[in-house]
């Protein structure tokens, strides 16, 4: 904002790489200077990543984590979006249900584990349930908010053209609320990714989260711990980027500039 001149195109790549390089140097030298035996250096982490890839462990774990996210998140979307649309459409209904939602929402999915285990036992279904919980609330909130912020003009125009209630919901309210719903879906996806990793550290025995815990427990392989963490970060970022692409396609078309 207050620079000497506008950054050039090449700088878009230069600066992040420079920052990353600086970070790696600091990391490398800290490990060297403190003489730690346990905490890995960047090089050993790199070797660790290669090792994980070679052993095919990484692909399996990534696949497992993604699978759980897909099912849990998918379920949250299928249940949450229609529910949110209904609640947004019928404010009295929302008013009745909202307090319950607001009390359940701050309860970390992790805290649900004991209850999840009662219903689902230990293993995959419990983890998927946790993902569902984590994604469900942001989606409902976004859908409700999206519907209630549809301008009255659109509803009136829809009615003017003789649309029934259901048609109105489908042809006017839903498309109009879409940008906001998409933002909520993206945020929920990020949360789903966080929850799946956390859940895997506790309740199952495969996946990236489990890899983190297991690497430490079976031999203090901190190089693998950090390697797994980086993979988690990168995967999460890729999911987010992919989703933003999706948003851009729709939002720019509709001219909603504030789909931040």
């Amino acid at each position: 904002m207050s620079e000497l001149k506008s950054p050039d195109a090449w700088e878009r790549f230069f600066w992040p790489i420079a920052a990353a390089a600086m970070l790696l140097c600091v990391w490398h030298y800290s490990v060297l200077w403190t003489g730690t035996k346990i905490f890995p250096s960047p090089l050993s982490v790199e070797k660790g990543i290669a090792e994980l890839f070679h052993k095919h462990v990484l692909w399996a774990d990534i696949a497992d984590s993604l699978r759980r996210v897909a099912i849990g998140y998918g379920a949250a979307v299928l249940v949450g979006v229609p529910l949110g649309l209904c609640l947004g459409w019928f404010p009295p209904a929302h008013q009745v249900v909202n307090p319950l939602l607001q009390i359940l929402r701050p309860i970390s999915p992790i805290a649900w584990i004991p209850v999840a285990i009662i219903f689902f036992g230990i293993g995959d279904p419990a983890a998927i349930f946790l993902v569902f919980l984590g994604a469900f609330f942001p989606i409902v909130v976004a859908a409700v908010s999206g519907v209630s912020s549809v301008p009255l003009i659109f509803r009136r125009a829809g009615r003017n053209f003789g649309l029934s209630n259901f048609q109105l919901l489908r042809k006017v309210v839903f498309p109009a609320a879409m940008p906001q719903i998409l933002v909520g879906l993206r945020i929920a996806l990020g949360i789903a990714w966080l929850v799946v990793v956390a859940g895997e550290m506790i309740a199952v025995d495969s996946g990236l989260g489990y890899l983190v815990i297991d690497s430490r427990n079976s031999g203090k392989r901190y190089d693998l711990v950090v390697a797994a963490m980086l993979m988690i970060g990168v995967m999460g970022l890729l999911l987010d980027v992919a989703f933003r692409r999706l948003e851009k396609m729709k939002s720019v078309r509709w001219g909603f500039r504030n789909a931040a």
Partner: protein, 262 residues
């Protein structure tokens, strides 16, 4: 062109729209505010009526009542002899801004009310109205690519596509710059003369009213009553420097109570 084709055939009881002793009272907190009082208005088929009045006087309320978006506290509105009880495809409202659906293309918007028609007819109608409002070349564009004037033309096209009897326009050019506004007035008149409908047009712009309307209905400030109805007896195209035009304009300014020397 026969009278019927020009849309000037007489309706059964002679009037297209009749408002009888229309009144509207709003309730806010525990107070009641009378927005409209004792509105009596008869509009003939194919007429161009302008509603003018000071800001906030209730012009939009009257329009919404006539369109069936609000229920009157007293009195009634009948169109073609039928009481108005709700919104209907036969009378379309065009809004000041943001009325077009941003997720549909130009074609999509114009075709919005046409889903019950067979495809061939729908497509030919859409093409016809794209031509009429001069948006050729933009059929597949989204509203975000259009200028303000173009968006309003799109709204008009969408409204006309369903063949309504009456068009209600609520300050449709209010959000446009003054040059575009002048152009849009010409466009509207051209369209109206090509495809005649009854038009009820709300504006706070005196010149606009005199340039467009057959009759101008002046509303007083709240609670709004019909203060005066002016007959604009100049034929189109109207010369805005002619003495008759200026006379009528002055009369209108006087009615609204504005001094005309700044």
């Amino acid at each position: 062109m026969s009278l019927a084709q020009a849309g000037l055939a007489a309706t059964p009881n002679g009037y297209k729209l009749r408002a009888k002793q229309l009144g509207m009272i709003y309730y806010a907190d525990s107070k009641s505010v009378a927005a409209l009082e004792d509105i009596n208005l008869d509009i003939s088929d194919g007429e161009f009526i302008c509603l003018v009045g000071p800001s906030g006087c209730g012009k939009s309320t009257l329009l919404n009542l006539m369109g069936g978006f609000l229920s009157p506290s007293s009195g009634s509105v009948t169109i073609d002899g039928e009481a108005v009880t709700g919104p209907d495809q036969r009378r379309i409202l065009v809004f000041q801004e943001r009325g077009v659906f941003p997720w549909l293309t130009v074609e999509g918007n114009i075709g919005f009310g046409l889903s019950k028609l067979p495809r061939a007819e729908r497509e030919s109608r859409i093409a016809h109205y794209v031509q009429l409002v001069r948006l050729q070349g933009f059929e597949h564009s989204y509203p975000s690519d259009l200028s303000g004037g173009m968006k309003q033309r799109l709204q008009v096209a969408r409204a006309l596509a369903v063949n309504p009897d009456i068009l209600f326009l609520d300050e449709p050019f209010g959000a446009l710059d003054s040059i575009t506004r002048v152009i849009m007035r010409g466009e509207l008149l051209r369209i109206w003369q090509t495809e005649r409908r009854t038009i009820v047009f709300v504006t706070h712009d005196i010149d606009e009213a005199v340039q467009l309307a057959d009759r101008v209905v002046v509303l007083s400030s709240r609670p709004a009553r019909i203060q005066e109805i002016l007959n604009i007896d100049i034929p189109h195209p109207r010369n805005i420097s002619s003495s008759r035009y200026l006379e009528l304009r002055d009369e209108l300014l006087k009615q609204i109570g504005l001094a005309y020397e700044i």
